[in-house]
């Protein structure tokens, strides 16, 4: 059995970060993100004795990304998780344009394919290198490069981010 305290610490320490990755992967679908995080933690729990000394966070993140991007696994999606919380939590503070921009970014992310979204999130949120991204997704380096370029091109012309185009020379 996993060491309860160590595993609890891991869950507490990584929930927020994994939740943010999940929300970006799902284009702001918090319920689906929560389901991804829960499934990732479950698999970490089951494999805890083997991975506890290694990169447990990486294992969880990889599980989430692969669960979300593998099309054939989507066909056997787990049960829906009901939640009594709205997808966006109002905190009473809205700096000018903040919520509008958040919504527009999530909308723009939703226009990407799942793999494109995963590459963007891993490269620019998780700060992985192209090589690490390729290994994480189990695809070639060339596929990462082309997928990344395609994703950035889509974001550049996305109507949701039309005034916030990504400049081509920054595609690296």
């Amino acid at each position: 059995m996993p060491d309860p305290e160590a595993f609890d610490d891991f869950v507490r320490a990584c929930s927020v970060r994994l939740g943010r990755i999940g929300s970006l992967l799902t284009g702001g679908d918090v319920a689906r993100a929560e389901d991804l995080v829960a499934e990732a933690f479950t698999r970490v729990y089951l494999a805890w004795p083997r991975i506890r000394a290694g990169d447990a966070f990486g294992y969880a993140r990889r599980t989430m990304v692969n669960l979300h991007t593998d099309w054939w696994r989507r066909q056997v999606r787990g049960p829906e998780v009901l939640t009594d919380r709205p997808p966006e939590l109002a905190n009473g503070v809205d700096p000018p344009g903040d919520l509008a921009q958040r919504d527009s970014l999530f909308r723009a992310l939703r226009r990407l394919t799942r793999r494109e979204r995963a590459v963007v999130v891993l490269r620019y949120f998780a700060d992985l290198t192209e090589q690490d991204t390729a290994e994480e997704l189990g695809i070639s380096l060339g596929t990462v490069k082309s997928t990344n370029a395609r994703a950035l091109a889509k974001l550049r012309v996305s109507p949701d981010l039309v005034e916030l185009a990504v400049s081509p020379q920054e595609n690296s």
């Binding site: 943010r20 995080v37 966006e88």
Partner: protein, 277 residues
């Protein structure tokens, strides 16, 4: 969003307000449900297979079963103890061990860990070699199950009544040209088990099965794999690669040893079969 730095900042800022609440207790409940579902599947499968195999055929060629759906063992090095000590013939055995040996299967974008199990009952045990997919902790690859008939003296019966009994059974997973995993059972209690071939002796890891009184062992070592089918032909195989298994007691004395034979070094299917290596 004028450049990549803006994109980075936007991704960080947009996700900052997201609140995901997953409690450890919720994870445990979910894991228990997964385990129960998988264990129910594999126990049912083994029960059906066990009932379908006549006792007279308990020792024979490995049987290939489809992916069982069983979960990976959660105990890495030493395995969890199986049922309480009893030695009663009907006592169920259920001891799973992750060997720690990983096999990359790039064609499937995953790695698998070789797992070994002792299942069945004390009277009719079976030694299992399976492969756990690290992507989802499921044993879904071809699994080799060898049924071993237990003799009244606690050893392994031969194929016919007049045959001598055996103390060792082992399987070998060929990992590469000079790379093998040997794993098996010693029908008795041993403090140390060694595997030797080509003049090189290797200490195996061991785990004792209290219910059966047998000892599981496994070792990953540098050695040429045994040729396929070497122990299933009428002509006795004499080398060049021959496997010697030896069990020692607590004071370092040799209890039993065997070299070659049809219960030693049985071939195991692995997930890369029929794939280019």
């Amino acid at each position: 969003m004028r450049n990549i730095d803006d994109l980075r900042q936007a991704l960080a800022a947009e996700s900052a307000g997201v609140v995901i609440q997953v409690s450890p207790e919720r994870v445990r409940r979910r894991a228990r449900a997964v385990r129960t579902r998988r264990n129910t599947t594999v126990v049912g499968l083994l029960a059906v297979v066990a009932m379908a195999v006549p006792g007279v055929l308990l020792v024979g060629r490995p049987i290939l079963a489809p992916g069982s759906g069983a979960s990976c063992p959660t105990s890495a090095a030493t395995g969890e103890p199986d049922a309480k000590p009893s030695g009663e013939p009907g006592t169920q055995l259920d001891q799973s061990i992750g060997t720690g040996v990983l096999i990359p299967v790039p064609e499937r974008h995953t790695q698998v860990e070789v797992v070994i199990k002792l299942v069945g009952t004390v009277q009719q045990p079976a030694f299992v070699v399976g492969f756990c997919d690290l992507n989802d902790s499921a044993v879904r690859w071809p699994t080799t199950i060898m049924y071993l008939a237990r003799a009244p003296d606690g050893t392994i019966s031969g194929k016919y009544d007049s045959d001598p009994h055996f103390r060792f059974f082992s399987s070998q997973v060929a990992l590469g040209p000079d790379d093998v995993l040997d794993a098996g059972v010693y029908a008795g209690s041993a403090s140390r088990v060694t595997v030797t071939s080509e003049g090189r002796e290797s200490d195996a890891a061991t785990a004792h099965s209290d219910a059966s009184g047998w000892t599981l062992f496994w070792v990953w070592r540098v050695a040429a794999p045994l040729p396929p089918g070497y122990n299933s032909t009428p002509v006795t195989y004499t080398g060049p690669e021959v496997l010697t298994l030896t069990a020692y007691d607590g004071s370092g004395r040799v209890q039993d040893t065997v070299t070659g034979g049809f219960l030693v070094g049985n071939q195991v299917q692995d997930p890369r079969d029929n794939l280019p290596r």
